[in-house]
Amino acid sequence: MDRDTWLEIFHTVLSNPLRTGLTGLSIALGIFILVVMQGLGAGLETGVKQTFGDDAANLMEVETGNAQLAFRGRKPNRRVELHNSDEQAMRSQMDSVPAWSRLVYRWGSTVRYGNEQGSYGLRGVDPDQREIGQVNMTAGRFVSDRDIDQRRKVAVIGGQVLADLFPRGTKPEQAVGSLIQVRGIQFAVVGTFNQTGSRWENRSVYVPFSTAQKLFSNSDVVSRVAIGTGEASIDDTRETTTSLTGWLKDRLVVHPDDAEGVWVDNRNEQAEMYRQIFGGIRLFVWFVGMMTLLAGAMGVANIMAIVVRERTKEIGVRKALGATSGSIVAQIVQEAVFLMLISGCIGLLAGTWLLQGIAPFVEHDFFSDPRVDFRSALLALGVLIFVGVISAIGPALRAVSIRPVEALRDE
């Protein structure tokens, strides 16, 4: 590749600006559509994950509700409750689990610091909740085993609670050690956390489960049990879900067909579903993008075929002057790849620019931060080069088959 090679490429590409422009446009449009759709898909994925994915995906949750069916002499439409004894029995009959956290909730709990107060979600939890809820600590520590044993009045507060109640500019470390009033009872702040991208997580206060149950619940009811499933496969968690549901229904006297009395929510299922949905979306995006690119590639193949036809004589002369078939093929492939790459990059830049431009205006619960990841961009460029070469092969072979004799014959 020296300057003459480039001059030849420019000459071919610029000899018919309209034709080249239209072909380039179809390539640019193909990449543009691919990039924008890919970015929107990524935005949808990010948004959905932020809204639903604030907990770990490898998780099962046990909850009770209202049993709908009469069973073993119990009336229909009765409240089913999970007591501490049930929770202990459940734990002891299960194999070892990577993480286990009891939860008790009190929504709309008033929290006060100094003269400031607000209404926040109160969660009594076990230490494992940090792992299960993927709590991102910003200062101090989370609820500990000793807190549980001693029913300490300690609290871990969310970023929004900190921002609302403490003076402007208070750093997380500075809040640790402060005393706050939770539902009128004094608690010591031992830690703070911040859940990026989670709107209501940050409006929560974590306290030890034992403390919360004693002070705020007046009973030994467990609202929910969260069980981490670690590295278990989706099939294993399905099996566990089924057997655990059966065991719980038997113990809590709920009809086997009752859908509401007690349920085990396998988050792995949801994660699997999301994975499949987004896998499908990605596949669809690439399929549409590839088809558009294919249409563009046909345009390039067409332009190269015309160029070869127009230059039959010139190619004959070049052969007489010592050009090998290889050098003729190389020239045509270079021209096609050049055309593809330039217009592809324009499409790539335009798409990236559009996504960046609209990103701030399209924040939504299910849509956030649309972006093109670097790998996809590289892949798109790779595909462009590949398609460029493919589209040039036909015309290049025709150029090679030109016999100098026929090309040079004067009419």
Binding site: V317, R318, K319, S327, R403, P404, V405, L408, D410
Partner: protein
């Protein structure tokens, strides 16, 4: 320099086979200026294409510069063309979007010569044909005679052993024709073998020897 023995060549047109060269025997010595004459259809263009390795032949043998040219691959033919042969065409066949200098330099591009050296050598050959001042002009800004001189410079730039000229004056008036022939004779004087295909007697008569073709056979040769 060139040795042809019983060269036969037939073209397949549909189901019919048309024999164009029916056994050509001839020898062209190094440094000769030879004219090939014949009416259209006599096979003179085909013979030139065979000589120029632009077309293959069916039977016989062709020795160029002591090397057998039998059954060459396309790649090998391209290399021999590039190393031994220079071409001059009736319609010049300059590349229209390249300047005179770039046209002259083109064969060196295919030999992988660096650009700077290509340009320098091209300029010296343009000077040789008297067109140094026209180096940056495009072919369509030049007269027919000038274009043919550029084409001759292009044929010379690889220092070929043989120059094959197909009706080099066919598109030129008589004055320019004489200029081009004078140039060819001058080059011949430097020891380069030249084969000129022509149908004009005045041109042929300026050559050392005339090979006359008729119906694919050599009619007779005179000195």
């Amino acid at each position: 320099m060139i040795e042809l023995k019983s060269i036969r060549k037939a073209y397949q047109t549909g189901s019919q086979s048309l024999t164009v060269l029916k056994g050509i025997d001839c020898t062209i010595e190094e440094g000769e200026l030879v004219a090939i004459m014949g009416s259209s259809g006599s096979g003179k263009s085909t013979l030139l294409n065979v000589l120029g390795l632009l077309d293959d032949f069916d039977e016989g043998s062709y020795v160029l510069n002591g090397q057998n040219m039998d059954g060459l691959s396309e790649k090998a033919a391209a290399r021999y063309r590039s190393d031994f042969l220079g071409f001059v065409f009736q319609s010049f066949n300059l590349i229209s979007y390249k300047t005179a200098l770039e046209n002259v330099a083109l064969p060196l591009y295919y030999q992988g010569v660096p650009r700077k050296e290509r340009q320098a050598r091209a300029l010296s050959f343009l000077t040789k044909v008297g067109l140094a001042d026209w180096a940056e002009h495009l072919p369509n800004q030049m007269s027919g005679g000038q274009k043919q001189r550029v084409a001759i410079a292009r044929a010379l730039i690889t220092n070929p052993s043989v120059i094959l000229a197909d009706e080099p004056t066919g598109a030129l008036d008589s004055v320019t024709s004489d200029e081009v022939m004078a140039l060819l004779k001058e080059i011949n004087g430097e020891g380069i073998t030249i084969v000129v295909v022509t149908h004009e007697n005045e041109i042929a008569n300026q050559c050392d020897r005339i090979i006359r073709l008729k119906d694919g056979r050599i009619e007779g040769a005179n000195a």
